[in-house]
């Protein structure tokens, strides 16, 4: 039995020989898409945008576009680099990635580029690599804007703290840097610290509770990532008693605006990242256009009590099944 089994392997080995491919005009494209972690609505929205772009642009140009989604369960740049290498060998036409650690991805991105496979980053750039375009926000400015908006709400006086997720993520470090930088211009506001936490809602909430136990005098919070707001009743203070500005505008976060626990959300265009990633790929590969780059930043959308319901309607489309 073993021998016959191994004979099958031998036949497989023979079938694995090579032959030259005929040159033909491409009618279908496969783009590998690698986000930072699974189960995150931000990246699910980006994926949804990429799929929508595939359908719309595919129909517009008479081509088939497939999104091959490969994302580590938890943030793992090594795994992302492995996915890039595996996708290159699997014959994808382009790679869209949100980098967890740019240093670790440079070689894999450069190698894909050398093999003729264009790479685009979104919400997590690898600036030293040969990616042709980086979609995202200016994270330093985002951190600054978060503090400035919080300072406006506090009328220039108070004690504030901030939380941030993965301390190894370059974009979050940038936001923290911007937040601290802006704080220097407001002498009436004392910045206690920026606290890091594991990127789960539970850990984020636990961190806020710990800090509030130790510093009940806090009057304002800057949430540089929205993780605590992904759970219900994360903020255990009467609405409006502590003022809060958070980055991102995912569906669970909107409830905190409605309950007046959060006065302002600064939302990234997660859906647009996915949509525009595919659009830029098609412009470059299929339409043979020169895509301006290498940085394409998008502004943050403010979400307040006044526009929260209108903004919420977007998510029906962005997280469409």
């Amino acid at each position: 039995m073993r021998v016959s089994f191994l004979a099958c392997v031998a036949i497989g080995l023979v079938l694995g020989t090579t032959k030259p491919s005929p040159a033909a005009e491409k009618k279908s494209y496969t783009f590998g898409m690698i986000a930072k972690s699974q189960g995150n609505q931000f990246f699910e929205a980006a994926r949804s945008g990429a799929n929508a772009a595939s359908r719309e642009l595919g129909s517009k140009y008479g081509i088939t576009i497939k999104i091959d989604w490969r994302t580590p369960n938890e943030e793992d740049a090594q795994k992302q680099a492995d996915y890039i290498e595996q996708m290159v060998l699997a014959g994808v036409d382009g790679i869209i990635i949100s980098s967890s650690d740019a240093n670790k991805l440079n070689d894999a991105i450069n190698r894909a580029d050398a093999g003729g496979i264009p790479v685009l980053t979104f919400s997590g750039d690898a600036p030293a690599s040969k990616r042709f375009l980086a979609l995202g926000i200016d994270d330093f400015e985002c951190g600054k804007q978060t503090f400035i908006e919080l300072a406006k709400l506090l009328k220039g006086k108070g004690i504030v703290a901030a939380i941030d997720g993965n301390p190894n993520a370059a974009n979050l470090q940038q936001r923290a840097g911007g937040f601290r930088s802006a704080a220097k211009a407001y002498p009436g506001i004392k910045l206690l610290d920026i606290y890091y936490h594991k990127e789960t809602p539970q850990d984020a909430v636990a961190k806020i509770e710990q800090v509030m136990q130790a510093h009940p005098e806090i009057t304002g919070w800057g949430l540089l990532g929205g993780w605590p707001l992904f759970t219900e009743k994360a903020l255990n203070w009467p609405p409006g008693s502590i003022l809060c500005v958070a980055v991102d505008g995912l569906p669970p976060e909107l409830a905190y605006v409605r309950s007046k626990h959060v006065q302002l959300l600064l939302s990234q265009d997660a859906y647009g990242y996915g949509y525009n990633s595919v659009a830029r790929m098609i412009e470059r590969i299929h339409l043979k256009k020169k895509v301006p780059g290498p940085i394409e930043n998008t502004p943050l959308t403010p979400v307040t009590l006044q526009n929260v319901d209108a903004f919420a309607k977007n998510w029906d489309k962005w997280l469409a099944k």
Partner: protein, 393 residues
């Protein structure tokens, strides 16, 4: 082309004769043959169903760099040349598979030794992170942008290697020392160490990713042969497997590991210094995590405190799939490597076959269980064969 067609029946006949040989058939009766069959089954399946891929053709330019080869089409446009290959069964993909397997496989050899001795090491991910960060800090110091970047690269590479591997070995030794002296279950000690070591890595790296290593170090780890095949991780994995196999199978120290894991009390009464055995197995586990970390920072070009997150479970899974018994006394270095290979083949196969990632965890879990069941069945068959042989005598 015609010649290769004529050669095909001859090639098949040669392979067939090789498979029929009594020597190979007897070799397949060794301990890990069940796993080998699983690997061969997966390889056959992936070869037959993966389809074909057009891979770019490269050549070495006059300046020594790799360049894509272009041809001119009928319209006079330059078209990049490509060769169609089987998606799974091509040299680049197999080298990629070996590289992806190597980091977990190397650690799985160390983990197998710990498990055989009746222990468990949950801190390998933390050790991996700390060794990555310490090695990266030293190598960065001697890198192009580091303070000692202008000097010769060799001392920096040697120091970086010693720092990464030495730190990891020291962590393993401390783990073993605490387990032996405090007589606390290894699960508790290594669970604590897992968090502590990652915390230390975070503090000393200030949460930053550290890159900028001497190019000679990167070039060494990423050394390629043929058509850009990275062989260093594979070579190191083979060396660690051979060393682990010799230690467990040929040395008295290895037999003492089996004896301790099989029955600690009996081992103690038969004069084995169980404490020393335990110390040595955690040292070896730390050492293999350090080697994997060194390879990783060399290959990927950076180290951070987030490295190796969750790897302890992958490493334990590889060791267990490879035949290591969590009750101790059973397992092998080769089994651990084959176990890691099975898991990686499934993971890579999911990408190659374009299966929706949402199903990947289900498939990996199911195949891991199937691999263990098949291996157990094979062991049971082997023991029946052995019993039958003795009863005939």
């Amino acid at each position: 082309m015609g010649r290769s067609k004529r050669e095909l029946p001859a090639r098949l006949a040669t392979i067939g004769a090789l498979l029929m040989s009594p020597r190979l058939r007897s070799a397949l009766r060794f301990q890990e043959s069940g796993l080998l069959l699983v690997i061969l089954a997966l390889a056959t399946f992936l070869t037959l169903f993966s389809g074909r891929v057009a891979m770019p053709v490269f050549e070495t330019g006059p300046d020594g760099t790799r360049q894509r080869v272009f041809t001119t089409d009928a319209a006079g446009d330059r078209v990049p040349q490509s060769i169609e290959k089987n998606k799974f069964l091509n040299a680049q993909n197999l080298a990629q598979l070996a590289k992806d397997t190597s980091f977990i496989a190397i650690m799985a050899v160390g983990m197998s030794i710990v498990i055989i001795a009746g222990g468990i090491d949950l801190s390998v991910g933390g050790i991996y992170a700390l060794a990555s960060v310490v090695g990266a800090l030293v190598l960065h110091h001697y890198g192009p942008s580091g303070p000692a970047g202008s000097g010769p690269p060799l001392p920096g590479i040697a120091l970086g290697t010693m720092a990464a591997v030495g730190t990891a070995a020291l962590c393993g030794l401390v783990n073993g020392g605490l387990i032996v002296t405090l007589r606390v279950h290894p699960f508790i000690i290594t669970l604590g160490a897992m968090a502590m070591l990652r915390g230390i890595a975070f503090v000393i790296s200030k949460g930053q990713s550290i890159g900028g290593f001497p190019p000679a170090f990167r070039g060494l780890i990423r050394y390629e042969v043929g058509n850009s095949l990275s062989i260093v991780p594979l070579a190191v994995m083979l060396l660690v497997t051979i060393a682990g196999s010799i230690f467990l199978g040929r040395l008295a120290a290895g037999r003492r590991v089996y004896a301790t894991g099989g029955n600690e009390l009996a081992a103690r009464f038969s004069g084995i210094q169980v404490g020393r055995v335990k110390l040595s197995v955690y040292l070896l586990s730390g050492l293999t995590a350090g080697i994997a970390a060194l390879l990783s920072i060399g290959y990927y070009g950076a180290g951070s405190s987030g490295d190796g997150q969750g790897y302890e479970l992958n490493v334990i899974a590889a060791a267990v799939v490879g035949g290591a018994s969590l009750t101790g006394g059973k397992g092998s270095a080769l089994g651990a490597v084959l176990g890691a290979l099975v898991i990686q083949m499934i993971s890579s196969g999911i990408v190659i076959l374009g299966i929706d990632q949402n199903y990947s965890q289900i498939i990996i879990g199911a195949v891991v269980i199937a691999a263990v069941v098949l291996d157990n069945f094979n062991t049971w068959l082997a023991s029946r064969r052995l019993a039958g042989r003795f009863s005939r005598r």
